[in-house]
C-alpha cells in the first residue's frame, strides 16, 4: 500500500541525486581530463571550438530526438532526411543562382526551402504514426529508406556540388564566428536553450512527458495526444533542417553518404544524456552533454596514437553501453528522485 517499492532511504539521497543527474556531466569532464593528459593541445582554444562546431550537427538533431523519444516515439529517418534536404537545397540554390545571382537572397531561399522540407518531412512521420496508427519505428524506417534513395537519385549516384559562386556567400554560416564562437555553436546554443525551455517550462513539454509515460492517462487528461506527438516529429524535422543549413556550407556537397548513421548518434546522445528510451522522461541538458561526449571521443582518438582512429565506433559504442549501464545499475539511486530533481 503506502510501502510499495520505495528503496531509497531519505538519508544519502541528496548525494545520489547529484550522481544521477550530474552523471553524464561528470563523465564528460573525465573525458576532457583524459584528453588533456594525453595531449595538452586538447584544451587549446582552436580544438575546443572545433569540437563544439562538430558537436553542433548531432547536438541540434538530438535536441529534436529528445522530444520524440520523451513522447514515446522514435525517429530513424533523421540522417537520410538531412541528406535529402541538403540535396534539394543544393539543387534549388544552383538553379536559383542563374536568375537571382549568388547573393544572400539565394542562400535564404535555400534555407527557407530546407525549413519547409524539414517541417514537412517531420509532419509526414508524425501523421503516419498518429493518424495512420503505424509504429513509429516502422514509419521512420520506411522514410529513412525513401529519403536515402531520393538523395542518391538526385545526385544520380554521385555527388551534388554547390555552385562555387554561392559557396562564398554561404561559407560564413559554417566557418564564420560571432563574439569568438563559431556560428554553428551559436545555433546549437540557441536550439538547446529553446529546447530546454520547451521541455521544462511549457505545457507542451509536460504533455510530451505525460504521453511517453502513459498515453491513456494523457488522453483522459484532455491532452490532444495525436497533435502533441505529431508536433514532436515536426520539431525533429525542424531541428534536422537547421542542422542541414549549417552543414551544407561545410563541404558544399551532398551525396548518398551524407548523414549516414546520424540517427543512431542522435539517439545515442539522447540516451547517454539520461532520457529514457521508452519515453516518459526527457533531459535536454543531458542530450547536449551526450552529443558533446560522442564528438569528444572521436576528437581524443585523433589526438593520440594509443588507439587507432578506426576504432572510433568501438569507443563510442563502449561509452554508450557503459553510460546506460551506470544509469540502470541499482547502486542506491532512485530514478524517481532523479526525476523529481530535474523539475
Amino acid at each position: 500500500m503506502t510501502d510499495a517499492t520505495a528503496k531509497s532511504a531519505p538519508k544519502g539521497s541528496l548525494m545520489t541525486i547529484d550522481l544521477k543527474t550530474a552523471g553524464p556531466a561528470i563523465a564528460l569532464f573525465l573525458l576532457c581530463v583524459i584528453g588533456f593528459l594525453l595531449n595538452p593541445a586538447f584544451l587549446s582554444e582552436g580544438n575546443l571550438s572545433n569540437l563544439l562546431t562538430r558537436s553542433a550537427f548531432i547536438g541540434i538533431i538530438a535536441v529534436g530526438a529528445t522530444f520524440v523519444i520523451t513522447a514515446g516515439g522514435i525517429d530513424l529517418s533523421v540522417g537520410s532526411m538531412a541528406a535529402a534536404i541538403s540535396g534539394v537545397m543544393i539543387i534549388v540554390m544552383n538553379t536559383a543562382v542563374e536568375t537571382m545571382g549568388p547573393g544572400v537572397s539565394t542562400v535564404l531561399l535555400g534555407c527557407g526551402c530546407s525549413i519547409v522540407l524539414g517541417v514537412g518531412a517531420g509532419w509526414i512521420n508524425g501523421a503516419l504514426t498518429t493518424k495512420g496508427k503505424i509504429e513509429a519505428f516502422i514509419v521512420t524506417l520506411g522514410t529513412m529508406g525513401i529519403y536515402r534513395s531520393l538523395v542518391t537519385y538526385f545526385a544520380d549516384g554521385g555527388t551534388l556540388s554547390l555552385d562555387f559562386a554561392i559557396r562564398g556567400t554561404y561559407r560564413p554560416v559554417y566557418y564564420g564566428s560571432f563574439l569568438g564562437l563559431p556560428i554553428p555553436v551559436w545555433v546549437f546554443i540557441f536550439v538547446a536553450l529553446v529546447g530546454w525551455f520547451l521541455m521544462n517550462r511549457t505545457a507542451f513539454g509536460r504533455y510530451c512527458t505525460a504521453i511517453g509515460s502513459n498515453e491513456s492517462v494523457a488522453k483522459y487528461s484532455a491532452i490532444k495526444v495525436d497533435r502533441v506527438k505529431t508536433l514532436t516529429y515536426v520539431i525533429q524535422g525542424l531541428c534536422v533542417s537547421l542542422a542541414t543549413i549549417i552543414y551544407v556550407p561545410r563541404l558544399g556537397s551532398a551525396s548518398s553518404s551524407t548523414g549516414v548513421l546520424w540517427e543512431l548518434e542522435a539517439i545515442a546522445a539522447v540516451i547517454i544524456g539520461g532520457t529514457v528510451l521508452k519515453g516518459g522522461y526527457g533531459r535536454i541538458g543531458g542530450t547536449i552533454i551526450g552529443a558533446l561526449m560522442l564528438t569528444t571521443i572521436g576528437n581524443i582518438l585523433n589526438f593520440t596514437d594509443m588507439i587507432s582512429n578506426y576504432l572510433n565506433g568501438t569507443m563510442q559504442g563502449l561509452i554508450i553501453i557503459i553510460a546506460v549501464w551506470l544509469q540502470r545499475a541499482d547502486w542506491g539511486a532512485g530514478k524517481a528522485k532523479a526525476q523529481a530533481q530535474k523539475d
Binding site: 503506502t2 510501502d3 505525460a210 509515460s213
Partner: protein, 511 residues
C-alpha cells in the same frame, strides 16, 4: 498466539515482523500464522501495511526485524519470487501473465517440459487440460491470455500456482475487478484448493466477501496488529470498526434534498454510440445522479462518448442550454464537463511521476503564464489539494505509484476538480479503497453537490449508489432500463431493472 494447540501445524508464520522503509516504519511487530487448509483474510485500511506484510511473507521484501517460520523452521525467504519454488506463491493485483502467450505457455513459463531438448508440447497440454478440468474451468489450454476475461485470467494465475504445488497462496485483492458471478466462481475454486490443504491468504476490501469466504481474519491498522479472529461471529460492521478504530455510523453523508426546480445542466436525448443505444436522461444543478447496472452495461461508454473520448453516432446533448458535441476531452473540460476514469492506474494517473505533474495535468492551460508554466501556482495548487482532499503522502516527491489506492483516488479527484468543472462524472469512485477513505470520498461528493456542482456517480456497488444518489439511473446492455427516485431507490428495485426483469415505459423515463 491465540490458539496454542494449533501451533505445531502452522505452515507459515510471521513472528514479530517489523518493517521500515528508510526512516518510515510501516509494520510494527506483526504476528500472523497461516494453517494448511484455511482461508485467512487480511484486512485493514489502505496504508495499514497489508501489502508490505504479504510481500514479506512471500520474500519480495525482507523484514527489518522479526522471524519468518516455514513449517516451524526459521528461514530467510529467497527474494524476487524465489519463494515460489518452496510453495509460497504471491498473486499480484496486477496479474503476472504474458498477454500474447497461451494459457499452456503461461502455466509452464520458466519450467517448460522438454523431451530430447525440444518442448514436449503434448505432455504440457495434457497436464494443463487436466489441471483446468480438475478445477472445473472450461478454458482452452491454447487460448491466448489477451482473449480471456479478467476473471479467467485470475483463474489461470491460480492454476499456475496450483501447478507449482503451492502450499501457501497469497492473493492481493483477487476479487477487485470481478463481477458477482465471477466472484462466486472464484470462491468455488478457493474452496477446492482449501480442501486440498492449501493455505490461502486473501486481501480484500469487500468485507461481505471476507465474511463469506474466510475462516480466520487478521486485522491491521496503521502497521499494527489489531486482532486475529475466527470469521464466525465477526460481522462486516465489526470488521470495519476494528479496521478504522472508530464508529462508522456515518459512512454516507446526510443527504441534502435535491432541488427539483434547479436548472437542467445537462440533457441527453437519444444518445447512441459504441455500446450505447438510445440513451436519454437529464442532470440538474447540484444533483447527485447515480448510474447503476451490471459491469458492461454501457454506463462508462455513455459518458466517454459525451466527453469526447468516443465518437457519437446519434443523439443530442444540451449543456447549459446549448447544444454541444465535444470533439475532444479538452473541449468538454473547457465547457465545464469532466470525466474521472475508473481505471486510475492505467488511465488516471502517471504512476512514475510525483503528485504535482499529476495534479495539474488535466487543467494545465490554467497554469500558463507568458508561455511558461507557473510552478509556484502549481505548488500552491498542490498544497491546496492536499489540504482539501486530505491526501496523505510520505513526502510530496513520492511517486504516485507508491501511494496507497485511497490516496491515489483522492489525488485523481483533486486533479479533475482542479479544472473547476460544473459537471463531474466519477466512475467507480471507491474501487479498491478502504472503508475510511470511502467515507471521505462520499463526503467529498456530497460537498461538491452542495456547492452546486452536478455529480454523476457510476458505480457497481449498490449500497454506494443508494447511499449517496438523489436519483438512480439503471442501465442494461447499453440502454436505460429505468430511473429511480426517493424510496424506490433500493437494491431489489435496482436489481430488477439491471437484470432486465423490469423496464420503465418511455414516459416514466422522462422523470
Amino acid at each position: 498466539m491465540p490458539d496454542g494447540q494449533l501451533e505445531g501445524f502452522a505452515v507459515l508464520e510471521a513472528d514479530r515482523i517489523s518493517k521500515s522503509f528508510g526512516a518510515v516504519p510501516v509494520l510494527f511487530s506483526v504476528n500472523m500464522e497461516i494453517y494448511p487448509g484455511e482461508v485467512h483474510a487480511l484486512i485493514g485500511e489502505n496504508g495499514a501495511g497489508k501489502s508490505t506484510l504479504m510481500k514479506i511473507l512471500s520474500g519480495f521484501h525482507s523484514p527489518t526485524s522479526g522471524r519468518i517460520l516455514f513449517d516451524g523452521q526459521e528461514i530467510t525467504l529467497p527474494p524476487n519470487g524465489g519463494a515460489e519454488a518452496m510453495g509460497i506463491v504471491l498473486i499480484h493485483q496486477e496479474l503476472n501473465l504474458a498477454a500474447q502467450m497461451t494459457v499452456e505457455e503461461n502455466i509452464f513459463l520458466g519450467r517448460e517440459l522438454t523431451k530430447n531438448g525440444v518442448l514436449d508440447r503434448a505432455a504440457m497440454r495434457d497436464q494443463v487440460a487436466e489441471l483446468l478440468s480438475s478445477i472445473g474451468l472450461t478454458i482452452s489450454p491454447s487460448a491466448r491470455i489477451s482473449d480471456l476475461t479478467i476473471a479467467e485470467q485470475q483463474m489461470v494465475e491460480i492454476v499456475k500456482a496450483v501447478s507449482r504445488q503451492a502450499r501457501v497462496l497469497i492473493m492481493d485483492e483477487p476479487t477487485a475487478v470481478l463481477t458477482e458471478a465471477e466472484t462466486n466462481l472464484f470462491f468455488q475454486q478457493v474452496e477446492k484448493l482449501k480442501s486440498r490443504g492449501v493455505a490461502i491468504i486473501f486481501v480484500s476490501h469487500k468485507l461481505s466477501e471476507v465474511k463469506q469466504i474466510a475462516d480466520r481474519i487478521t486485522i491491521l491498522r496503521d502497521g499494527q496488529w489489531i486482532a486475529t479472529k475466527p470469521a464466525e461471529g465477526l460481522s462486516p460492521d465489526a470488521m470495519a470498526q476494528m479496521m478504522v478504530g472508530r464508529e462508522l455510523s456515518d459512512l454516507y453523508p446526510p443527504m441534502h434534498e435535491a432541488d427539483v426546480d434547479a436548472e437542467r445542466v445537462l440533457q441527453v436525448e437519444g444518445l447512441s454510440a459504441a455500446g450505447v443505444n438510445d440513451v436519454s436522461f437529464d442532470l440538474r444543478k447540484g444533483e447527485i445522479l447515480g448510474f447503476s447496472g451490471l459491469i458492461g452495461a454501457g454506463r462508462t461508454a455513455v459518458f466517454e462518448a459525451i466527453c469526447g473520448l468516443h465518437p457519437i453516432e446519434a443523439g443530442r446533448i444540451t449543456f447549459n442550454g446549448e447544444e454541444v458535441c465535444f470533439a475532444s476531452v479538452a473541449a468538454a473540460r473547457d465547457a465545464g464537463l469532466a470525466y474521472l476514469t475508473k481505471d486510475r492506474k492505467a488511465k488516471g494517473l502517471l504512476l512514475d511521476k510525483d503528485m504535482r505533474p499529476n495534479l495539474t495535468l488535466f487543467s494545465l492551460p490554467k497554469f500558463l503564464r507568458r508561455f511558461g508554466l507557473d510552478r509556484q501556482a502549481e505548488d500552491e495548487a498542490l498544497t491546496r489539494a492536499i489540504r482539501r482532499f486530505d491526501i496523505r503522502a510520505r513526502d510530496p516527491k513520492v511517486k504516485v505509484g507508491d501511494m496507497s489506492g485511497g490516496n491515489q483516488q483522492k489525488l485523481l479527484i483533486a486533479k479533475v476538480m482542479e479544472a473547476d468543472p460544473q459537471v463531474v462524472i466519477i466512475d467507480e469512485p471507491t474501487r479498491g479503497i478502504d472503508v475510511g477513505t470511502k467515507q471521505q470520498v462520499y463526503h467529498f461528493i456530497a460537498a461538491l453537490a452542495a456547492e452546486g456542482i452536478s455529480v454523476v456517480v457510476i458505480s457497481s456497488e449498490m449500497p454506494e449508489v443508494i447511499g449517496i444518489s438523489h436519483r438512480v439511473v439503471v442501465m442494461r446492455e447499453g440502454q436505460i432500463m429505468g430511473v429511480l427516485t426517493g424510496d424506490a431507490i433500493n437494491e431489489t428495485e435496482i436489481m430488477r431493472y439491471a437484470a432486465g426483469l423490469k423496464q420503465a415505459g418511455p414516459r416514466e423515463q422522462d422523470q
